[in-house]
């Protein structure tokens, strides 16, 4: 027996019966926080000469290994160099190298991965084996040998680090292209008379680039850590160059004696910058998953 349906308005339900609260949007605050921090770091690096009283390699003969105080906000290291100035100038190097290396890796990696993923066949097989080889190679040795071959210097370090990260992008791009290849709109593109090249750059690439761009910020953070690690071992930026990892290495011995400022400050700077990248990257990931 169907009862008469009374039309009542939508009452605001007072009970929370099986109503799950909507998930809070975390991606925006993440990206916002990360970007603001990164902006600060970026500005500090750009305006380094204006913000620091000393040059990065100027020696204050009157102040060796002094604690933070007036004159030297963050103290000086064993060579008499002002830590605050060195940190600011190091930001240029770390940030610059990280961004360039990842940009290089993305460009080269996506091109190779895209082509190889679309063409398939033995070209794909061989490229993937080569990529496997490069990925299986211990990163530090690879970076060092590649940069040493062309002489040390920032450009070569950038190339080396870019070389380390490229295989991952090749892999991802290839995977994306292979998945997209089977989609209906690619079949439709073929029916529309597109050449293979046209399908690649008009239809495949624009749709495949998203995952790469999503992880790029995270990679920037890792690139910075890799550079710092290399410098820490003495393989990257040579002493007395101002680079966060190198500064930490120089200050490592001082730690045991309780002199913390020579390695803590550069470490914190490195940490904050990488954290900024990681926050942005996590925000991007969250965004792309939510779609």
């Amino acid at each position: 027996m169907i009862t008469l349906a009374r039309t009542t308005g939508l009452a605001r339900a007072s009970n929370a019966w099986h109503r799950r609260k909507p998930r809070s949007e975390i991606s925006k605050p993440l990206i916002a926080t990360g970007t603001s921090i990164l902006a600060l770091v970026f500005l500090a690096a750009v305006f380094a000469p204006l913000l620091s009283a000393w040059g990065p390699e100027d020696i204050d003969f009157a102040a060796f290994l002094v604690a933070p105080g007036p004159g030297h906000i963050m103290g000086t290291d064993g060579n008499g160099m002002d830590i605050w100035s060195r940190i600011l100038h190091a930001g240029r190097i770390d940030l610059g190298v990280a961004l360039s290396a990842v940009a290089l890796a993305v460009c080269v990696g996506s091109l190779i991965g895209g082509l190889v993923g679309y063409i398939g066949g033995w070209v794909d097989e061989i490229t993937m084996r080569l990529t496997d080889i490069v990925q299986a190679f211990p990163a530090f040795i690879l970076a060092l040998t590649v940069s040493a071959m062309f002489g040390s210097g920032l450009i070569n370090l950038t190339l080396a680090i870019g070389f380390i990260f490229a295989p991952a992008y090749i892999r991802i791009m290839r995977g994306e292209i292979r998945a997209l290849r089977e989609r209906t709109f690619i079949e439709a593109a073929e029916c529309s008379g597109n050449t293979r090249l046209q399908i690649l750059y008009r239809h495949l690439f624009p749709n495949a680039l998203t995952p790469l761009l999503v992880i790029a910020p995270l990679n920037c953070g890792w690139a910075m850590l890799t550079l710092a690690g290399l410098s820490f071992l003495g393989l990257g930026v040579p002493v007395p160059g101002a680079e966060w990892g190198a500064m930490i290495s120089a200050g490592a011995a001082d730690v045991v004696g309780g002199r913390w400022w020579t390695s803590i400050y550069p470490g914190v700077s490195l940490f904050i910058s990488v954290l900024a990248f990681n926050l942005i990257g996590e925000g991007f990931l969250e965004r792309s998953e939510a779609m």
């Binding site: 027996m1 169907i2 009862t3 008469l4 349906a5 009374r6 039309t7 009542t8 308005g9 939508l10 009452a11 605001r12 339900a13 009970n15 019966w17 099986h18 109503r19 799950r20 609260k21 909507p22 998930r23 989609r183 209906t184 709109f185 079949e187 439709a188 593109a189 073929e190 029916c191 529309s192 008379g193 597109n194 050449t195 293979r196 008009r202 239809h203 624009p206 749709n207």
Partner: protein, 655 residues
């Protein structure tokens, strides 16, 4: 409150929040009940709220939903239960059967184990008891070789079998009511029939109520006791299945019924527009804007829910007014028979396609010995169930797949083993519309760019191209406003129109349609089919229409070829084949097609075993399943003349 009901819904209203922060009144004060052993059908378009009812009863509403009203199971009001208490309600009181059964089964857990989980939970069994009960349940839902299937993983089962497992899972909960959400979408006709009969069995044997939700009234009509029609969140009509089908009262119900092309000649008649998404409960008849007989009265206030006959309710103030005269289209529009001088556009000779098996142990024969020809002005329908090779055939015609043997000729040119660049120049004469409308458009391109994509082949000036795009959008019934939209903003029907526009833009001589409407709602299907019919009536192109839906094919095509396991078993003029099918498979196919008029057909042909169980033999592909099989059937069967009207591949009926 009627104590005999399995479930009683009283004045249920559900409001949802959309992503942009807007509100949607998904349901506005619906009331109904379902008795034990009764099957109630809930029909309406997508977005009408039918899924929401099922989800509300099963307590699986999306986050942010606001509910009011009452859902009573016995003495208990479900809406008043707490989180903890709900856990004791889901499953045992109301069990949901999901729309896509394969994805609803956990891929890393054996199906038998999943079944036993429910048996243990709700029937309190021990492991070995549960094992035996699981076996029995699998047999009950018609799964062959149940012992082996218990240990299977979902990806090892076919779609139909997954659906049976899904039903078994729901039944194991011993529910008071079974909620089936679009249980037959995407299934073939024969399978649909089987699954629906399972619900009937379940309702009778387990004495549970069944709520069948579907957008296709024809599909579920045969098995329902009562049908409720939902539109924009309110009921517009309710009555027994017979009454709803034979004498619908509400204009929308009539529209739903007319939208489905019926096998017995009646073409589908579309109703324009789309269902509105209301922000608050309606204060006027929500169907008024699409209704041809609506007047000012209808728009002043919501029509009352009146009982016209015993237990037949309508919400309309002019149900007796003649709404739409049934258009008896008869056969497909007359076209001038191709004279001898007209060249055939398409010629396939003895096409064979083999898919190499992954592990190198031989291949799978997708098509064998297929020969067809098509002239301008003709529409060829290719019918068959899933797995028969019709998609492969469509792609061979398009040149996307090269046959391993045989020849394909387009306009006299042999395209079989043509090189890519050469094939490309022919593409402006050959276009295709795909099954997945939104998926066939580049998500990062606007509608305009998507349509312009094939136009590159024509070397038009910018002005000409612009005009062409506008023209072609107009032809498919979309305005220029659509040019700047991205595919994700389009509905299924709109996207398919855009795909059609894209195909038409280069003015090809042949268009191939691969199941273009199977992913769409019935009302939208009707609109698209109407569009296609008008296009085809112009008579200047050839069309190939691949589908598993016989009624649609009958209403659109002048010629038909029936495909079974990669071979053509019958082919000829559409009327001849539908009026007088000869091949046993064709007869069985027509038999199982759903029909709104419950006419009984003489001499039913019943095929043994499910499609996925039978393996194709050397001779006639139907041999393992044909009730008339004899010795000669193991010889390869070729198409031969049968009664002078069409060709059949069966020695028994061919001359």
């Amino acid at each position: 409150m009627n104590g005999a009901s399995a479930i009683e819904v009283d004045d249920l209203s559900i409001g949802l929040r959309t992503r942009g922060g807007g509100a949607v009144a998904a349901l506005s004060g619906v009331s109904f009940d379902v008795r034990p052993g009764e099957i109630v059908g809930l029909v309406g378009e997508s977005g009408g709220g039918k899924s929401m009812i099922a989800r509300a009863i099963a307590a699986m509403l999306p986050s942010g939903a606001e509910v009011s009203g009452r859902i009573a199971l016995g003495d208990v009001d479900l809406l008043a239960l707490s989180e903890k208490q709900i856990r004791f309600h889901r499953g045992t009181d109301a069990a949901l059967c999901f729309q896509n059964p394969r994805s609803a089964l956990s891929p890393t857990r054996r199906v038998g184990q999943q079944l036993m989980d429910r048996l243990v939970r709700w029937q309190g069994m021990e492991q070995d008891e549960a094992q035996a009960a699981a076996l029995a349940l699998f047999q009950e839902v018609g799964i062959r070789d149940p012992r082996r299937r218990l240990r299977a993983f979902p990806h090892e089962l076919s779609g139909g079998m997954c659906q049976r497992v899904m039903i078994a899972l729901a039944l194991a909960c011993r529910p008071k009511i079974l909620l089936a959400d679009e249980p037959t979408t995407g299934l073939d006709a024969t399978l649909t029939r089987d699954i629906l009969s399972l619900f009937r069995k379940a309702a009778q044997q387990h004495q549970c109520g069944v709520l069948l939700i579907s957008h296709d009234v024809a599909a579920i009509a045969e098995v329902c006791d009562r049908i409720l029609v939902l539109y924009a969140g309110i009921f517009v009509e309710a009555g027994t299945a017979e009454e709803i089908l034979d004498s619908p009262q509400h204009p929308y119900t009539k529209a739903l019924r007319d939208a489905v092309p019926d096998l017995d000649r009646r073409a589908s008649v579309p109703v324009g527009g789309t269902m509105p998404r209301l922000e608050k409960p309606p204060d006027a008849c929500p169907f008024a804007d699409r209704c041809t007989i609506a007047d000012a009265e209808c728009r002043k206030a919501l029509p009352p829910w009146t009982e016209r006959q015993a237990n037949h309710f309508v919400r309309c103030i002019r149900p007796d007014t003649d709404w739409v005269a049934l258009a008896d289209v008869g056969h497909a529009p007359e076209r001038s028979a191709p004279g001898a001088a007209t060249r055939t556009i398409l010629d396939l000779e003895d096409i064979e396609v083999v898919y190499k098996s992954r592990f190198g142990r031989g291949g799978q024969l997708a098509l064998r010995g297929v020969s067809l020809s098509l002239s301008p002005g003709e529409t060829l329908g290719i019918v068959g169930e899933s797995g028969c090779g019709k998609s492969t055939l469509a792609r061979v015609i398009m040149g996307l797949i090269s046959p391993t043997r045989g020849r394909a000729m387009l306009n006299g040119t042999d395209i079989t083993r043509m090189s890519r660049p050469n094939l490309r120049t022919l593409r402006k004469n050959l276009q295709m519309v795909f099954q997945d409308p939104v998926g066939s458009l580049n998500p990062r391109m606007t509608v305009e760019r998507n349509i312009a994509d094939p136009l590159k082949m024509l070397n038009l000036s910018a002005v000409e191209m612009d005009r062409r795009i506008d023209d072609v959008l107009h032809d498919v019934g979309l305005g220029s406003a659509f040019r700047d939209l991205y595919p994700r903003r389009l509905s299924g029907g709109q996207a398919q129109r855009v795909a059609l526009a894209r195909a038409l833009s280069v003015d090809p001589k042949l268009i191939v349609f691969d199941e273009p409407t199977s992913a769409l709602d019935v009302t939208v299907q009707a609109q698209i089919l109407d569009l296609l019919r008008r296009l085809m009536a112009k008579g200047d192109r050839a069309y190939v229409f691949v589908s598993h839906d016989l009624a649609t094919v009958r209403n659109l095509c002048s010629r038909v070829a029936v495909l079974y396991l990669g071979r053509i078993v019958e082919s000829g003029p559409a009327e001849a084949i539908f009026d007088n099918p000869l091949h046993p498979y064709t007869r069985a196919l027509l038999e199982s097609a759903p029909s709104l008029t419950r006419a009984t057909r003489a001499e039913s042909v019943v095929l043994a075993r499910d499609l996925d169980e039978a393996s194709p033999a050397e001779g006639c592909p139907l041999l393992p399943r044909c009730p008339f099989a004899q010795g000669e059937c193991s010889e390869p069967q070729s198409l031969r003349r049968g009664n002078n009207t069409h060709e059949v591949a069966c020695w028994k009926v061919g001359s």
